[in-house]
Symmetry: C2
Amino acid sequence: MLEDRIRNKELLSRVMSAEEAAMLIKDGMNIGTSGFTPSGYPKAVPLALAKRVRETGERIRIGLFTGASVGDELDGELSRTGIIAKRLPYQTNESIRDYTNNGGCEFLDMHLSHVPQYAKYGFLGKIDIAIIEAVAITEEGHIIPSTSIGCSPTFVQMAEKVIVEINTSQPLDLEGMADIYIPDNPPNRKPIPIERVDQRIGKPYITCGVDKIAAIVVTDIIDNVRPLAPIDDISERISGHLIDFLEHEVKKGRLPQNLLPLQSGVGSVANAVLAGLLKSKFENLVCYTEVIQDSMLDLLDSGKALFASGTSITPSQEGLVRFKENIKKYKEKIILRPQEISNNPEVIRRLGVIAMNTAIEADIYGNINSTNIFGSRMMNGIGGSGDFTRNAYISIFTTPSTAKNGDISSIVPMVSHHDHTEHDVMVIITEQGVADLRGLSPKERAKVIIENCAHPDFKPMLKDYFKRAQSGKYKHIPHILSEALSWHHRFLKTGTMKIW
Amino acid sequence: MLEDRIRNKELLSRVMSAEEAAMLIKDGMNIGTSGFTPSGYPKAVPLALAKRVRETGERIRIGLFTGASVGDELDGELSRTGIIAKRLPYQTNESIRDYTNNGGCEFLDMHLSHVPQYAKYGFLGKIDIAIIEAVAITEEGHIIPSTSIGCSPTFVQMAEKVIVEINTSQPLDLEGMADIYIPDNPPNRKPIPIERVDQRIGKPYITCGVDKIAAIVVTDIIDNVRPLAPIDDISERISGHLIDFLEHEVKKGRLPQNLLPLQSGVGSVANAVLAGLLKSKFENLVCYTEVIQDSMLDLLDSGKALFASGTSITPSQEGLVRFKENIKKYKEKIILRPQEISNNPEVIRRLGVIAMNTAIEADIYGNINSTNIFGSRMMNGIGGSGDFTRNAYISIFTTPSTAKNGDISSIVPMVSHHDHTEHDVMVIITEQGVADLRGLSPKERAKVIIENCAHPDFKPMLKDYFKRAQSGKYKHIPHILSEALSWHHRFLKTGTMKIW
Ligand SMILES: CC(C)(COP(=O)(O)OP(=O)(O)OC[C@H]1O[C@@H](n2cnc3c(N)ncnc32)[C@H](O)[C@@H]1OP(=O)(O)O)[C@@H](O)C(=O)NCCC(=O)NCCS
Ligand SMILES: CC(C)(COP(=O)(O)OP(=O)(O)OC[C@H]1O[C@@H](n2cnc3c(N)ncnc32)[C@H](O)[C@@H]1OP(=O)(O)O)[C@@H](O)C(=O)NCCC(=O)NCCS
């Protein structure tokens, strides 16, 4: 029944086809959409827009602002048709990644907690249209979001017009999972009153109002969630080290028995870590994170975890079946918040979150590159890793010690791009072991990172670099500037970082 | 009258000479002291310790933890006598800087807001003794700090024993200026209830207790504040650009008429900026910052600024006279807080602070080096610049466009050390002009930074690098890795970054 989904009579008359709604989008506009990790993003309207541009050859270049990554119907189609001129703040789609790295669009890689705030401050320019996927619209014209919250509340607030995609494949029972709280701008901002992960502080809908809604499109295209790779041996070893580390911290009295709220990045290592926790002896866990994936549902189902707060839920195809069947139960154990809250430094620091994120590479002094391969090639973006890392109780980065069949060392003299600096990184874990950097100077860090985390193939080269660097004039962070990035350069020239 | 200063009878018996108190310090200890920007740090005990080690040749190696920089009696004397084995989190003293850069001690460069938190979490090891400069001790054995708060409350809380230096040159009227609030550790932490810069939320003393005080030393050595260099032409031009920028933001409606709370780093540019504000048409300003210097007293005296919150007050010799004479008045306009509060991400973000800090160098993509010259030579440390920058409403970095008589460009292809990344830096200002980076992609940033901020001598070289880098394979952040750090390398080899 469409009336269950669109509860305001007047709004029923604004239902139109995706093609008609897409006509609202003009060249030069900034469009803000729902979506966070291929989940809860608009699909029908972007597909229609891309189709039109393909057919008519019309020139449309827009700024596309989202919560985080979105599916191929949006990032993929709009980049393959050359529609995206500017993109922020995060993506994981192959087409737009290539498009960015080939210079097709200008990509702005932002801390996810900054996005809504900068939008409200007027720092990102005008937002012309917000396109929001929803499960329903209330009598008052407010929007009940589907599987992600992200920046939707802010985009709706700042946009001139709103297009709502009612997605009937998303269960109406999602209603009540969202908790929407938007802080005022300074100087009127108040403390965010979250002291426990399971606290609700806002409304179950995104405030919008009937007048602002320019178009409603009904669709049933399902979220295009990428399947997770099976857990490999390397990821399992990393996960094992991480859990040993947490157990050690509990033993030392630096963490409570049930740990502190967990944040976990996405990807195969993150998945292995959550799977490891399922098998661990930890109990009564809680999560304060961004994305709720299958492995977190497993933790909730097993009773290992009591509660999870995030900004999106991204189950796999199988996970989705389970999620839909048990949605009433999950609603008691999951809150979805705007990313301005899920990623808020204030809340993360107050709760004492344990931040576990994945690095592309780390250097011997503890700097982390999460985004740019060889300094120039954008992978996904910094995402929320900075929001969590800087404000964490303990900040952990994981990475396999090598890449590209062992030809690349993920531990290098100097990272080729800096996302998290020596000031923010407490623990680095590879399948080789754990480097606990807390309280260590740069030179002390270099010793443990090389000793505990580097792959044996590269240890001698790293030790050699570190030793020679120390004979230089300045010994605080010993470097040989003419050599610091030479490993990357060598790989680009020869296909390997090895010298033998 | 000593009884005004030591208000507990029992404690009067623990008054001893600096030499006797210094005997409590043993090899291998970690010592936490008061002090933040050469202000309010202990002087008599470290001088006595250094004297003894000089005379006896005894081996004493300690960890020295402070709020931020301290004076020569502490950092200078203890490094010249080889007593400091490990040092954190910040320094500005020439002796310890050289000592660090020569490998004499291990220096740990930390975000200032992290220090008290990590100490409480047990991440910095045991703190054996806290040495705190005070104007008085209460009947209950609580400590009334002198001109800086810094980490003192936490060091007192965590230390096994406390040595108090009662400094009679510090006016007793300082009592009431401090506002001491220490957040609990997670999971019991509550919101910090500051919504305006002038709000008091804590106690006027540092909780200690009679039993913990092992020694009291009475001294009258004054804070060794370095005189500020007169404002030069370059600093004045930077200040002019900065104030123009703020005026422009007000005009655009992105800042209120009276701006938002100001944070300002220290040094000659920072000083020029505050002097510039004094002459500007801004009114009803407030400051939420770390250090209150002469120029901020000027703003308060003139009525331009209504209130200043910081963690230390560091007047010059002349400023001190004025400060002492008008201290009752200043007490109504100044609050000194622990650095866990003055630098707290939660409060900074809530208040919407305008962060103005100084860079050593910036790169064309907007990364900032604040700490390590040529990647290896520690200058001072990151200080609070990261706490403020990441959480600011607007984050601004200033730097002259050249250094070393024009042989160094402060705008380079890639900074030789990263403290603030492309994700955090909104505005860069040199005497050449303003680069407003908000909403810009890396390549767009490069264009405005080169155009508006680089010195004409280096512009062609920067344009050439950027252009050639863009012809590489990956165009998100175009770099030529074999050349990115070559400018620094060239300076080290030839004494200039120039190639002509
Ligand atoms: C770091 C990150 C890219 C790792 O993701 P992943 O899927 O586990 O990565 P993979 O191991 O599959 O590597 C991805 C690519 O990087 C390459 N790579 C990995 N390490 C590398 C290194 N040290 N040097 C060069 N390339 C490397 C891989 O070979 C692969 O390349 P390909 O696409 O050409 O095959 C990802 O976790 C990320 O984007 N993190 C940053 C943001 C973030 O933390 N988000 C989540 C929380 S908000
Ligand atoms: C960046 C900072 C060092 C500038 O301080 P300053 O006193 O204005 O600096 P100066 O211009 O005198 O430069 C200091 C030294 O760096 C050198 N320098 C400056 N820019 C340089 C560059 N781009 N490359 C190499 N050296 C450079 C100067 O030549 C000088 O060297 P010297 O000591 O051999 O003479 C200082 O503001 C700082 O430490 N900032 C970081 C922490 C911070 O922000 N603290 C305050 C808020 S918490």
